[in-house]
Amino acid sequence: MVKVTLSSGTAQQFTNGVTEVNVEAKNVRQMFKALEADFPGLGEEIQTSMSVAIDGVILPDPFLEEVTEDSEIYVLPKIGGG
Amino acid sequence: MAKHHITTTINGEEAEYLCEPQETLLDVLRDQVGLTGTKEGCSSGDCGACSVMLDGRLVCSCLVLGVEAAGKAVETIEGMADGENLHPLQQKFLEEAALQCGFCTPGVLVAAKALLDTNNNPTETEVRYWLAGNLCRCTGYDKIIRAVMDTAADMRGA
């Protein structure tokens, strides 16, 4: 199982306010699938319009990355800049 | 609308152009003469990007009619270097990174040269007020002011 942490705002929309969810996944694409299955709309939402931070590194287009039980995974909005 | 046939001197060379009475010297330099080093930032005399010398006076070319240049001497950024030898200000601006996007740079250089041509020992305050009409949004002016002061020091030392 990997632990995915959502912002409180995202959690209110998709997980009834639960900010830490656990899913079975070995990489990010599996994680998206599992999140979508457990919380319809969430996996899709993250894939299309959010970033994921794994162990402190913010990834705007995560997909191939490996994840383990020890990974610290956070979902956050996309960041651009001027 | 009859066009005026204007004969003038631009960067030391005789130049002719046809212009409509309402066209500014800035329009003429950029569109008729092809000297696009003089920039348009506001067209109201507030930014200084279009600074040129007109008969030895620093002016905003957006506030001069093209017809007014008849019989006068216009100096633009394109005439600042002597062939392949850059003017000391141009060289110093490069060495001290006194430009970022470079859009205000021609106007700043023309204005700074006008200052140093009459005063080669300006104070920081004098440089800042002299250049107050040349807006720069990139540099915070720090390196511009230093480059002008350092060029003046070099010119005094030379």
Partner: protein, 755 residues
């Protein structure tokens, strides 16, 4: 100032930029400098109303004018779906973008484009624009963010329901979205505090104020191919957006990046480009369009005005126990204010256990805001840094000390979730504290303010090509529009990696046909991401150079190493060969397999977060309220300064933009929602005589994910000045204003009210 560490020969030097001579001699070509044979001039017809339904548009009189080659309205543009589409890294709602470029049903702000014309001269185009008759039904408008969220406010989009809340609201409103980030329990944090301070703040809308107005030349061939030359922060962005808006295949659009006369985020979207393409298609001729300064202020760029509440609690010894922020940011006519990053950055400099941030994205009748240097962060961090300052002064703790007590460090979890890796916030505080400036006594009516700032920095898509020419010189290609000297940094990193003379490298920003996709020049990403691509491309070229030397020597490539610009045998076992220089290998390239090059196409990850700490001294004239900035020091962790002079330049320029935001810049609207100060006369950006020197101090805590340690520098420096100036004014006057700008009338009124 850290100069280059010993191990580097080029990185860390103050080399002269490769595009410098063009820029000091007037040769450099900016957006408006290109003239093509047969070119016509385009002009935009703009809404005079802040909010109005477009009943009809009659273009017949304009079309009949001699010299007019084309007139277009939204009817000439494909209708886009209202659905966010991934376009590069950003999510773009192309229906909104299309409406912003050319209004279809409603004009949502004064200055919104409603039609465009092209004619043989600019004067005729202007006349034709005046002949386009638009019949409007004027609607009630709303500008201010707190007015816009009121129950009875005029609603801009009757199909917009607040996102980010559950259940979905039943009524349309101007609140486009709600975001929330929380960690721990903020209320419990306040309960544990000895001192709790809660303040409301407002900031006014401001503009990026780039000196070059938007400009484009577009030329569409009868076969559907389009050439675009324009000033932007991303020619790949221009290609992508025009392709989506106009339904033209990307491969048919070639965009060439003109030199760009400043952007600061304001040139990360399109305005004129799609119009110029449409006008060119209709005219059958190249079209040039340039905005006037007034159009720039009314119809482009700009960022949010905002209102916020900041609440923070601390123990007697200065430990912050709880923090709460509620942020309302103007998005302008369409959703998409930077409230997300504003919320995420608000408390990011601090190691907090209990924090909650709520943010609202609010539409109102202004131009759609676009990125401005660290979008959102200057606003929220202004409020937070003001309250931190007030906590410090109430608790009798030095302002740098209270930040040190609470500073985020490696392993600190930010409120938005992420745990920081190696960061250099404390180092900026230490450097600030060590300055002579911080210790210098002040005179009467003078005050000193300190504030810090945080920005994420980003990576993203970048590409680079290294071509080793026959004579050993290097052609370096990349695709990030160079807004402040990045070509110099690219060449320095290539020179360092390849081990060749910086001057033998010519870097170019090439067109969209010549290289792969690049995300925009923004987010402080270019030196980091494109720099990473340049290093990887250089390494690829080195591998090829080693292989060629191996062929010459007839040894295995593993037996060849690359050192100091030369191929050398890895050991004496390989053989006794004279090292071959890059130029020598280049000379025999044709014999060893043909031209030599290296390429990299990457999506750079691992951008390094950056922090800055600024110190500002002001003097306030107690009788006129005029503020003079006496002295300014800006400290920033750059990770590694590839070109220290341009890093300092970013810091100085950003600081001064922040000072302008703090003191005098603001959008002023009349009662009809029309901008009253659409020019540099009354939109008061700082001028040279307003300022002292800006002492830039570079701290280098390298970013471990970048080959040279680069973090990115462009955005952080605009964040601290808002509070640094405001805190200094508070110290000088004894009055806390909690609103920007601190214009003389505001200050005098505040002083009078405090008496």
């Amino acid at each position: 100032m850290n100069e280059q560490p010993k191990q580097y020969k080029w990185v860390g030097t103050r080399a002269i930029r490769p595009d410098g001579v063009d820029k000091v001699t007037g040769r450099a070509m900016y957006g408006a400098d290109l003239a093509l044979p047969g070119m016509v001039e385009g002009k935009v017809v703009r809404s005079p109303h802040a909010h109005a339904r477009i009943i009809s548009i009659d273009t017949s009189k304009a079309e009949a004018l001699k010299g007019v080659t084309a007139v277009i309205t939204a009817a000439d543009m494909p209708v886009a779906d209202s659905k966010p589409v991934a376009s590069g890294e950003a999510m773009i709602n192309f229906k909104d973008l299309a409406n912003n470029v050319l209004a279809r049903e409603k004009a949502l702000y004064e200055g919104q484009a409603v039609a465009a014309v092209a004619a043989t001269t600019a004067a005729i185009a202007e006349k034709a624009a005046a002949l386009v008759v638009v019949n409007y039904e004027v609607l009630p408008h709303v500008i201010d963010v707190m007015e816009a969220i009121k129950e009875d406010a005029p609603v801009l989009h009757d199909d917009m329901f607040t996102g980010g809340v559950k259940p979905k609201p039943e009524k349309a409103s101007n609140v486009a979205n709600r975001v929330e980030f929380a960690l721990g329990d903020a209320e419990a944090g306040f309960a544990a505090a000895d001192l709790v301070i809660e303040r409301k703040f407002t900031t006014e809308p401001v503009h990026q104020g780039y000196i070059e107005p938007h400009a484009v030349v577009a030329d569409m061939n009868p076969d559907g191919k389009v050439d675009v030359f324009c000033s932007s922060q991303g020619h790949f962005m221009v290609r992508a957006f025009c392709s989506q808006l106009l339904h033209i295949e990307m491969s048919k659009i070639k965009v060439t990046a003109a030199e760009i006369g400043g952007g600061f985020g304001g040139k990360t979207t399109v305005y004129l480009e799609p119009l110029a393409i449409m006008l060119s298609r209709k005219s059958g001729r190249p079209v040039r369009m340039t905005m006037s300064r007034e159009e720039v202020f009314r119809g482009s760029g700009a960022t949010s005005g905002a209102a916020m509440t900041i609440k923070m609690g601390a123990t007697k010894d200065g430990k912050i126990t709880g923090a709460y922020a509620e942020l309302y940011l103007q998005a302008g006519a369409f959703p998409g204010s930077p409230v997300g990053p504003a919320a995420m950055t608000a408390f990011a400099p601090y190691d907090l256990d209990n924090v909650k941030v709520v943010g609202f994205d609010v539409v109102s009748n202004r131009q759609k805001v676009v990125a401005y240097r660290a979008p959102g962060a200057p606003i929220s961090e202004y409020g937070v840094e003001s309250v931190v300052d007030e906590l410090a002064s109430e608790l009798g703790i030095d302002p740098i000390e209270i930040r040190t007590i609470n500073a985020a460090k490696e392993g600190t979890q930010a409120a938005y979730g992420v745990k920081f890796g190696t960061i250099g916030f404390q180092e900026t505080l230490d450097a600030a504290k060590a300055t002579e400036h911080f210790k210098t006594p002040l005179g009467p009516n003078q005050g000193r303010g300190v504030a810090s700032g945080f920005w994420f920095n980003i990576g993203g898509e970048s590409c680079a090509g290294i071509r080793v020419n026959e004579d050993g010189s290097i052609s370096l290609t990349e695709g990030s529009p160079d807004i402040g000297g990045s070509r110099a940094s690219m060449a320095l990193m290539a020179a360092e990696t390849l081990g060749v003379d910086y001057h033998s490298i010519k870097p170019s920003v090439v067109d969209t046909d010549a290289i792969g996709y690049h995300f925009v020049t923004g987010g402080s990403r270019v030196t980091f991401a494109t720099g990473m691509a340049v290093v990887e491309a250089s390494k690829a070229a080195i591998d090829e150079l080693r292989a060629r030397a191996a062929k010459v020597w007839d040894v295995d490539v593993d037996g060849v190493v690359w050192e100091d610009g030369h191929a050398k045998p890895a050991s004496t076992n390989v053989g006794d060969f004279e090292p071959m220089s890059l130029a020598e290998i280049a000379k025999v390239a044709n014999k060893t397999g043909g031209p030599i090059s290296g390429h990299a196409d990457i999506n750079a990850k691992g951008a390094g977060p950056a922090f800055g700490t600024h110190i500002c001294d002001v003097e306030v004239d107690p009788d006129t309220g005029h503020v003079t900035v006496l002295r300014y020091t800006a400290v920033q962790d750059a990770g590694r300064a590839i070109h220290p002079a341009y890093v300092e330049g970013q810091i100085q320029g950003g600081a001064v933009q922040g000072i302008g935001w703090a003191l005098n810049e603001e959008y002023i609207y009349d009662k009809n929602g029309r901008l009253e100060n659409a020019g540099f006369l009354d939109y008061r950006v700082p001028v040279a005589s307003d300022l002292p020197m800006i002492d830039a101090i570079i701290v280098e805590v390298p970013n471990p994910t970048h080959p040279f340690g680069v973090r990115g520098v462009g955005e952080v420096p605009i964040i601290p000045p808002l509070a640094a100036v405001s805190n200094a004014v508070a110290a000088a006057t004894g009055v806390r204003f909690n609103q920007l700008p601190l214009s003389p009338p505001t200050i005098l009124a505040g002083i009078a009210a405090s008496k």
